[in-house]
């Protein structure tokens, strides 16, 4: 499969008052790739996610999302978060944001919202088209739950799930929106080694099915095991880019992580 670019970010800059949180950042993700974004705490990784998903309005820069099948290119700049998701960028959150008082299955069904249409009329009269659509929402959502291995909890409230499963549910919910690119914000945060290993398997499995993934992660073992490309950020700037092996040996990266005094 030839690699086609899905996400192109050019010169992305974000100022908060006088503080430049992102400084002219460039980044691209190709189809089928797993790309990791790493960097010390406060480097601006989550700000980067918030900018490309429309939660913050970036001060400058361009964001392009290309559908590899139709090669249609969309600018995401200035879109609202829900429009960004509609265009094909879905995310998870660093601090889990599920819908706690909805069932696990319903959480995933919410993800289908932007791919379905029924509205007031359909809801009240429940015509054939609406019934078909509801059925498809159910079936697709259940299939996704099976994929992440949560189908046995389908009718539980989301906040009754164990922590690691809540993170998996967030991924399931994001997958339900049929994203071109899946953004994972620290998916392994707070997980124990077993849960992290299972997550590693899950991400690889999703990736094998052709899903492009961009993830922020602190767990270096996981990053090195998963990524095709790694981008390293510090103080809002990109300081390195390359394959896991290249990054491991990059002096700038080592300096950013360990401080000045260490000679590479």
């Amino acid at each position: 499969m030839t690699k086609q670019p899905i996400l192109n970010v050019h010169g992305l800059t974000m100022d908060f008052g006088g503080i430049r949180a992102l400084n002219s950042l460039d980044l691209e993700v190709n189809s089928g790739e797993i790309v990791a974004l790493i960097g010390p705490n406060g480097a601006g990784k989550t700000t980067f996610f918030n900018c490309i998903t429309g939660i913050y309005k970036p001060t400058a820069g361009d964001i392009w999302l290309t559908n590899p099948k139709t090669t249609k290119k969309n600018s995401l700049k200035g879109l609202k978060p829900n429009q960004v998701t509609e265009k094909g960028l879905a995310r998870t959150f660093q601090n889990i944001r599920l819908f706690p008082k909805m069932t696990v299955l319903e959480n995933v069904m919410i993800g289908r919202h932007c791919r379905t249409k029924a509205f007031i009329f359909g809801a009240i009269f429940r015509n054939a088209a609406t019934r078909r659509e509801e059925q498809s929402i159910l079936e697709i959502s259940y299939a996704i739950l099976e994929k992440v291995g949560l189908e046995r909890f389908a009718d539980e409230f989301a906040d009754n799930l164990p922590y690691g499963d809540q993170r998996r549910l967030e991924i399931a919910r994001a997958l339900a929106t049929e994203p071109l690119l899946l953004l994972l914000d620290e998916p392994a945060a707070g997980m124990n080694p077993q849960e992290t290993a299972a997550l590693d398997q899950l991400i690889k499995q999703i990736s094998r099915e052709g899903q492009a993934i961009l993830l922020i992660e602190h767990d270096m073992k996981l990053v090195m095991s998963l990524s095709d490309q790694i981008f390293v950020m510090d103080y809002g700037k990109k300081i390195a880019q390359g394959t896991p092996t290249e990054i491991r040996e990059n002096p700038a990266v080592i300096k950013a992580y360990l401080g000045e005094e260490v000679d590479a």
């Binding site: 989550t46 918030n50 939660i55 959150f93």
Partner: protein, 300 residues
């Protein structure tokens, strides 16, 4: 010109009263992020307590000065006690509940207190005794600024100075500011947040009680429902100034008082209350952070 000055002073008077009530809203909001909907009722209870005490004392033939002092103290003591108790009953159990729960509880408390006073006292308007005599030295300008207006302005200024002092320099004031900025951190450095919250309610209620006493003697009559409108207007003033900000509450109150005064004086008195509500709706739509408030970005 006299008419203009008269309106100006009447606006300042109104504004001062709103400020006394608005401070309670803004302080509570600053600390626990709750719109204390029952705050208007605290003010009403302050007015009722001073009314009852003052009338009893005057029937028993106390001198005017003693009546003013005792009624004032009674209003402050009871209003503060109500404020303290309401927080313990209706808000404290909900400190970790979803944001709207304490607001609904506050609305319930407000309705409860109104009807409590209605049932225990009366639904009629009651004539409030004259507590502030016409000062002889005010005679030349009495047609523009009344003696009660003067008293209200003076009292408000004194109370504001005292409050500023408390918040800036006392231990509890510093604890309040710390808690308002970061409750978790305040707990970690050893501040008893529950006490700080109680203190905030007590101080806010005491200010409202002073407001209640002053406005009741200014207008000359009270009933169980006066808290609702005064509460909403003071809240409008607090939001106008930027809720959570103490100077903002004072500024907002003065602007609201003057606007109302001039609008009723020059435009029409029918829509007096509509102005306040319109102002409230417009500020919240266009500048919800208010004049002196800080816009907050929700963290994701």
């Amino acid at each position: 010109m006299d008419y203009f000055i008269e309106l100006f002073f009447s606006g300042l008077t109104r504004g001062s009263i709103y400020a006394l009530i608005a401070l309670g809203y803004t302080m509570v909001y600053g600390i626990i992020g709750l719109i204390n909907f029952a705050h208007g009722e605290i003010y009403m209870i302050g007015a009722f307590t001073s009314f009852i005490v003052a009338t009893v004392l005057s029937i028993y033939g106390f001198p005017l000065l003693a009546i003013v002092i005792i009624a004032g103290i009674a209003a402050v003591v009871w209003s503060s006690s109500y404020g303290f108790t309401i927080e313990k009953i209706a808000y404290k159990p909900l400190r970790h509940a979803p944001r709207l729960s304490p607001l609904i509880s506050a609305i319930g408390m407000s309705i409860f207190l109104q009807n409590y006073v209605l049932l225990a006292q009366t639904s009629d308007f009651l004539p409030f005794p004259t507590l502030i005599p016409d000062f002889p030295f005010m005679e030349p300008i009495a047609h523009i600024v009344g003696s009660t207006d003067l008293m209200i302005l003076v009292t408000t200024v004194v109370v504001m100075i005292a409050l500023t002092f408390v918040i800036k320099f006392t231990k509890i004031g510093k604890a309040m500011r710390a808690t308002a900025q970061d409750r978790t951190m305040a707990t970690l450095v050893g501040i008893n947040v529950n006490n700080v919250i109680s203190a905030t309610f007590i101080v806010g209620s005491a200010l409202a009680a002073v407001g209640g006493l002053l406005i009741a003697s200014h207008i000359g009559q009270i009933n169980f429902y006066i808290g609702f409108l005064a509460g909403i207007k003071a809240f409008t003033a607090a939001v106008l100034g930027g809720i959570g900000s103490i100077p903002g509450a004072v500024l907002g109150s003065l602007i609201l008082g003057l606007t109302e005064s001039f609008a009723t004086g020059y435009v029409s008195s029918d829509y007096e209350d509509v102005f306040a509500f319109m102002l409230l709706v417009l500020i919240l739509i266009f500048k919800p952070s208010g004049l002196l408030g800080k816009a907050t970005n929700q963290k994701v």
